[in-house]
């Protein structure tokens, strides 16, 4: 019974839990509700993935109104994969949040925090699972609005400004997306994704479709933080509470990449996206600039959260580069990196959360010698950093391998070289942290700092440990990514 209704339950459960959180005003009870919702979501995503792997694409008509008039939830391999990523990160981050939020946010009105978090989770899951273009926009707005709230709750006074900046830019992005969807509707008369794909395939290319394409790509790129539309990201990640930075860094942009994949490959299809529109070249140039420029800027950041934010912009560059190749290895690399980067970046932001909890600062100047005082936390950070560099035995290596292969398949040899050179920039900013954390003497008047509590260390190491485990056992991560890539390239979905 449950199995038949999994797709809608995946959304309904966190959605219902959000107002429940509001009603349950007590701090720990609202956390428990959030925890239950997150873990239940993870279980459901896992079951959905198994369903899709065994029986193929799952289609669910909401309220039993069939598509194309009713809203359809459609889960194929790429959706199921991204659902798993989002819910897994949620499930790991909420246990962490209990102590972290208490320290960063105070004890007042914590239930608002968990309510917003659950709405954000619902929104992200909804964007991923839906098969209806306008429904996608609705969930996108839900997730965006709640993430503006979450970011604004940061302790630093600049958090409000950062949230406002994100709100303005995010709204522009969402507006572009809805314009694009509107134009598509005007042209084809349908909002269901499968139906859209079919109707677009039979229409000659017109200016309306071209305009829709452009609006959609630009709007989604803004949500994705593709250079040069990434300007909201550094401030948002820096000033948000640690748990929020970890959650958003690991999920929000991944979901936006999924949306791009869905529109480019399932709806517009390869022929239009890369054949008629010169998207491969545009994405290639922007991605390469992102990879180098963002990494270079990261090198000069003293605030570690800001450093990781710029690093994320560079890593998104890698994902988009994979898309620009439009071949199996490139897409596999992109989809795989959604998973791998979520693990690494999520883990590293959680490690920073541990540091904030004890040291109240993430500025490199304040963190001399912290490696000796918080060995497990810094070890997690360093392992995550090695993953960003792409050292073997970390998941970053696996993604890089497929990305370079994708470049070679395309015949773009200089790009293969550029991919490897840009990973060397990560060595510089990671090593800087290593040197300060481990080899700088602790200043004499520094407050005594001890290791973070297990409740925070365990989620951190779950993610970091996963980033090592999945570099050895790639059957799940690469296997599904590969199949999803093939499905997308075949125009399926």
């Amino acid at each position: 019974m449950i199995a038949a209704h999994l797709p809608v339950l995946q959304i309904v459960l966190p959605l219902i839990c959000a107002p429940v959180c509001m009603l349950v005003r007590h701090r720990d009870w609202s956390w428990s509700v959030a925890l239950f919702a997150s873990w239940a979501s993870l279980a459901m995503s896992w079951m959905l993935l198994q369903q899709v792997l065994t029986t193929g694409t799952v289609s669910y008509a909401l309220g039993n109104w069939s598509a194309p008039f009713g809203i359809e939830y459609r889960v194929d391999l790429i959706n199921a994969y991204v659902l798993l990523i989002v819910s897994a990160i949620g499930a790991v981050v909420v246990p962490f949040a209990r102590a972290s939020v208490k320290a960063e946010f105070g004890t007042n009105r914590v239930y608002f925090f968990y309510t917003s978090y659950l709405l954000c989770l619902t929104g992200l899951l909804g964007v991923t699972i839906t098969g209806d273009a306008f429904n996608l926009f609705v969930f996108l707005e839900i997730s965006s609005l709640s993430s503006y709230v979450l970011i604004a709750l940061g302790r630093d006074r600049r958090a409000l400004m950062a949230s406002y900046q994100y709100l303005v830019m995010g709204t522009i992005g969402a507006t572009f997306i809805v314009i694009g969807i509107g134009l598509l509707y005007a042209e084809t008369g349908t909002l269901n994704m499968v139906d859209l794909a079919e109707r677009l395939a039979h229409r000659p290319s017109s200016r309306t479709i071209g305009a829709a394409f452009a609006f959609l790509v630009v709007g989604i790129s803004l949500k994705l933080a593709l250079f040069p539309l990434h300007l909201w990201l550094p401030n948002a990640y820096t000033y948000a509470p640690s748990m929020v930075s970890a959650f958003l860094a690991a999920t929000a942009t991944k979901v936006a990449v999924y949306v791009l994949l869905r529109f480019l490959f399932s709806i517009f299809k390869v022929k239009l996206s890369f054949g008629i529109m010169p998207l491969d070249n545009i994405l290639l140039v922007l991605a390469v600039i992102a990879m180098f420029a963002a990494s270079a800027v990261a090198i000069f950041q003293k605030n570690l959260k800001r450093m990781l934010a710029y690093s994320s912009v560079a890593q998104i560059g890698y994902m988009v580069l994979g898309i620009s190749f439009a071949n199996v290895n490139g897409l596999t690399a992109c989809i795989l990196h959604l998973f791998n980067h979520a693990l690494m970046k999520g883990g590293m932001f959680l490690a920073l959360g541990c540091i904030v909890y004890r040291a109240a600062s993430v500025n490199l100047d304040d963190l001399a010698g912290i490696g000796r005082r918080m060995p497990l936390t810094m070890a997690a950070f360093v392992v995550g950093g090695l993953g960003l560099i792409g050292v073997p035995l970390t998941v970053g290596f696996i993604s890089k391998w497929y990305l370079v292969l994708g470049a070679m398949d395309r015949g773009w040899w200089p790009v293969a070289v550029l991919i490897l050179l840009s990973s060397l920039l990560a060595v510089v900013y990671v090593w800087r942290v290593v040197e300060v954390a481990y080899f700088s003497p602790v200043p004499p008047n520094a407050p005594a700092i001890e290791e973070a509590p297990p409740a925070m260390l365990i989620p951190t190491w779950v993610l970091i440990g996963a980033s090592i485990y999945f570099s050895l056992d790639t059957e799940l991560s690469v296997g599904v990514a590969n199949k999803a890539a093939l499905q997308l390239l075949g125009g399926g979905g």
Partner: protein, 488 residues
């Protein structure tokens, strides 16, 4: 113990030792005993594999797939066996030496030292036994990272700067060049397995082979081909046991081992001999030999002179492999063993002098041979091996190198070998002369005699080994010959 179990133990045992060392942080004597015990057991396991290898078998161990069709896999072949023997044997000796050195110099952070030493040895075993280029690459990178804490051990400004150069150059070359070469090879051939005769035949034409060779040779930064050699002198900031590890036991040996493996089992000797675009290697190697020797001549710091000597000697191995005849490939393999024994003796001696007399510059070392006869005697033997005179092991490998070059009528390497022998003499003999035949003019800070017994024990063992390898080359010779067979 079957071959595949032995492989697993060889790689896993040092890691287990690391754990035990870390747990015994507060009990130095137990900790040191664990190191010695682990090293002994590793040596026994490796020696235990020998009969199987000499009989021609090649035990395998295949683990999981890292990528579809690319497993982490191990296969023991003659060159790997030779490398593993050298590394495990010298680990035991170096551990003995380290105990003496670290305690006499009252070094800090000794647990970290012994722990990462063991991890490095585990990666060396992984490199030695790797069955494909992916496995080798993984352990190669792990080796770079696990030796970093050893290089920056002292944690002063020079050490951190040296560590940056070390990691910077090695990671840069391995990512920008080696990884590119590995992915390209996979792209061209669909396999990365080490196969006698190579895997690239017919898959790519001349210029691509030449470029691929460039990527592999300069990507293997640990082989210290000029101009990628800068990390070696920079790593001299490390304590002497670490220098010994880097130069003799593990890091540079892993580099030249990779070079030989790639030439014999990825490219294939035959393919390279008919590819004109691959000829540059012999000239670069030759230039490295001479230039490094010239720079060594000008160094007053003993460890720096030894560092440049290593750069030069590594290029011997590369040039021998680049001559591309079975005999020269055999000579290259032999030289791995010969150089390891000779160089480690020299570094032990340098550390011994530092420990006993606190002297680091050659100009301070007049007359020191009378105070430290064992140390300088061992140094003399090591130096003779570098120069290539009997009755030391260095003579054997040089002999076969010349043999191989003359056989194939390649006059350039012959000339290089002669010239460099003269240069080696020029920068080693004066040290021995000063030590024994000049009167002492730089008065030591305090009266001293020989270094502590542990240190002296270690360096006499390796010096003896250098001579022994000349008289009884048995095992090394057999393995090298087997490799030459695979190179035909």
């Amino acid at each position: 113990m079957t071959g595949s179990t032995a492989i697993a133990f060889a790689i896993g045992l040092p890691l287990f030792g690391t754990l035990l060392v870390m747990l015994n942080h507060r009990y130095p004597n137990i900790r040191e005993a664990i190191t010695l015990l682990t090293a002994t057991c590793l040596l026994l396991i490796v020696v235990g594999m020998l009969p199987e290898i000499t009989s021609g078998a090649q035990p395998e161990l295949i683990l999981f797939d890292m990528f579809p069709g690319l497993p982490i896999a191990f296969k023991v072949e003659p060159l790997g066996m030779l490398f593993a023997l050298v590394a495990s044997g010298l680990w035991l000796v170096t551990s003995v030496y380290s105990i003496g050195y670290m305690r006499a110099n009252k070094e800090e952070r000794q647990t970290r030292f012994y722990a990462f030493f063991a991890i490095s040895l585990s990666s060396v075993m992984g490199i030695a036994f790797s069955a494909n280029m992916m496995t080798l690459f993984v352990f190669y990178e792990v080796l770079t990272l696990s030796t970093y804490p050893l290089v920056i051990h002292k944690e002063d400004k020079d050490a951190i700067a040296g560590g940056r150069t070390y990691v910077g150059i090695l990671v840069f070359t391995s990512v920008a060049f080696l990884l590119l070469g590995v992915v390209w090879t996979w792209f061209l051939t669909g396999t990365l397995d080490f196969t006698p005769g190579g895997i690239l035949k017919g898959k790519a034409d001349g210029p691509v082979i030449g470029l691929l060779l460039f990527l592999y040779m300069f990507g293997t930064g640990k082989a210290a081909l000029m101009p990628i050699h800068r990390w070696l002198p920079a790593a001299m900031v490390a304590p002497t046991p670490v220098s010994a590890l880097l130069h003799a036991v593990a890091v540079v040996k892993a580099g030249v081992f990779t070079v030989i493996k790639v030439i014999v089992y990825i490219f294939g000797v035959d393919l390279l001999s008919v590819t004109a675009e691959a000829n540059w290697l012999i000239y670069i190697a030759g230039a490295t030999i001479i230039i490094a020797s010239l720079v060594a001549l000008r160094q007053d710091n003993l460890k720096r002179r030894l560092a440049y000597s290593t750069v030069s000697q590594l290029a011997y191995v590369i040039i021998a492999a680049a001559i591309l005849t079975p005999i020269s490939v055999m000579a290259a393999a032999l030289h791995i063993a010969a150089h390891a024994l000779g160089k480690i003796t020299l570094f032990f001696a340098a550390g011994s002098i530092y420990t006993a007399a606190h002297k680091t510059e050659i100009s301070q070392m007049n007359g020191i041979g009378r105070r430290m006869p064992w140390t300088m005697g061992a140094f003399a033997i090591g130096a003779l091996s570098m120069i290539g005179l009997p009755p030391t092991a260095g003579f054997l490998s040089k002999w076969y190198m010349l043999h191989g070059a003359l056989d194939s009528a390649q006059w350039f390497p012959v000339g290089i070998i002669f010239l460099s022998t003269l240069l080696n003499t020029a920068y080693f003999v004066p040290i021995i002369y000063r030590a024994f035949l000049r009167p002492e003019d730089v008065v030591p800070v305090h009266e001293h005699g020989e270094a502590p017994i542990w240190i002296v024990l270690a360096l006499t063992t390796t010096a003896a080994g250098t001579v022994l390898l000349f008289f009884m080359p048995g095992v090394a010779f057999d393995l090298a010959q087997q490799l030459a067979g695979a190179a035909k």
